[in-house]
Symmetry: C2
Subunit: 193 residues, 2 copies
């Protein structure tokens, strides 16, 4: 019998994610992925299939471990105002804390894949739809408790918060300094007052 795998598939996936996240799909070459993951060509193709397969795996990993995990944590607070506040402060903090200014992998992907790849588009759309749902629930619950102004239509407010998040993430990627991002985040929080 052969030996067991000598490299950690999850670690390699994490490294590959960083490459795609930073450079995008098109600009990330196989050579970049090999260098980034540390494994060689053969192992990479054997473990993850082609470039697109690997990309989808990293995108799924990001969505699960970053977006879903975070939203679940905030939802567990059972405190809509706190949840929204921490969300936007956290986004700004993450955005400026990253020296590479990679932004949000999902948002980046939403712009890079226009209409070509329907599967990827659907995946990103689902992520943003669930984010919108999170915002809507926050608003609804907060209004029921009288903590959020009742004049805000939950659906409209949720969509606006999504747009603001996308704005922060895109501006944070290259253009836009810390004060800008924080100003937008503050205004997002003020939206519910």
């Amino acid at each position: 019998m052969p030996w067991e795998k000598s490299f950690d598939e999850e670690t390699a996936l994490e490294k590959a994610m960083q490459v795609f996240w930073d450079k995008g799909y098109e600009s990330a070459s196989i050579a970049d992925l090999i260098e980034g993951t540390g494994l060689n060509r053969g192992s990479l193709y054997n473990a993850f299939g082609g470039k697109r397969d690997l990309f989808l795996k990293t995108l799924t990993k990001y969505d699960r471990e970053t977006r879903q995990a975070w939203l679940a944590e905030l939802e567990a607070l059972d405190d809509p105002r706190q949840a929204l506040s921490r969300f936007f402060d956290g986004v700004v903090e993450q955005t400026i804390a990253d020296p590479d200014h990679k932004g949000c992998f999902l948002v980046n992907t939403s712009l890079e894949f226009p209409a070509h790849d329907e599967e990827v588009r659907q995946f990103v759309a689902k992520g943003l739809r669930e984010l919108e749902g999170f915002f809507r629930r926050c608003i609804e619950v907060g209004q029921a408790r009288g903590e959020i102004r009742a004049t805000l239509e939950p659906q409209v407010g949720a969509k606006t918060l999504v747009a603001l998040l996308v704005g922060i993430r895109v501006l944070g990627r290259g253009v836009g300094d810390e004060s800008t991002l924080q100003a937008v985040a503050d205004e997002a929080k003020r939206l519910i007052d």
Copy 2:
């Protein structure tokens, strides 16, 4: 003496812009540009230089003819509320009217060029900075006339409006339907009330 140029340089530039706008810089191949512009390889290189030169020319053209021209027109209204209202309604209208969902060339570029190309980054940053300046002036003048709520800090409000624009443009590119974009635009207009 030779004859004058047989193709219209401005028209070719317009076509090339459509290609870059739709596919982005990396994904647009020389073959795409040749097909899009209608001219052949030699003429293209002779008239515009390499791929990056051509890209910068199209980006400059877009910025001048679309962003600058529109803002100047709105500024000439001398009616801040009207200007902001028309701006966001116009953005939504343009976004959904384009069957290719190309979004905004400047915004798209801001995400595709992370840190690699400093010149491009600066160009995009300048465009968004001037947009922010337009918003700020609208708010300031509107406040001086008592048409916009005085509690809104002009600088913060302007940055937020920029973020909302970016959000609309990015969401409108693939994810996000018309109702979403209009909801965000309406909320942007409500920000100044």
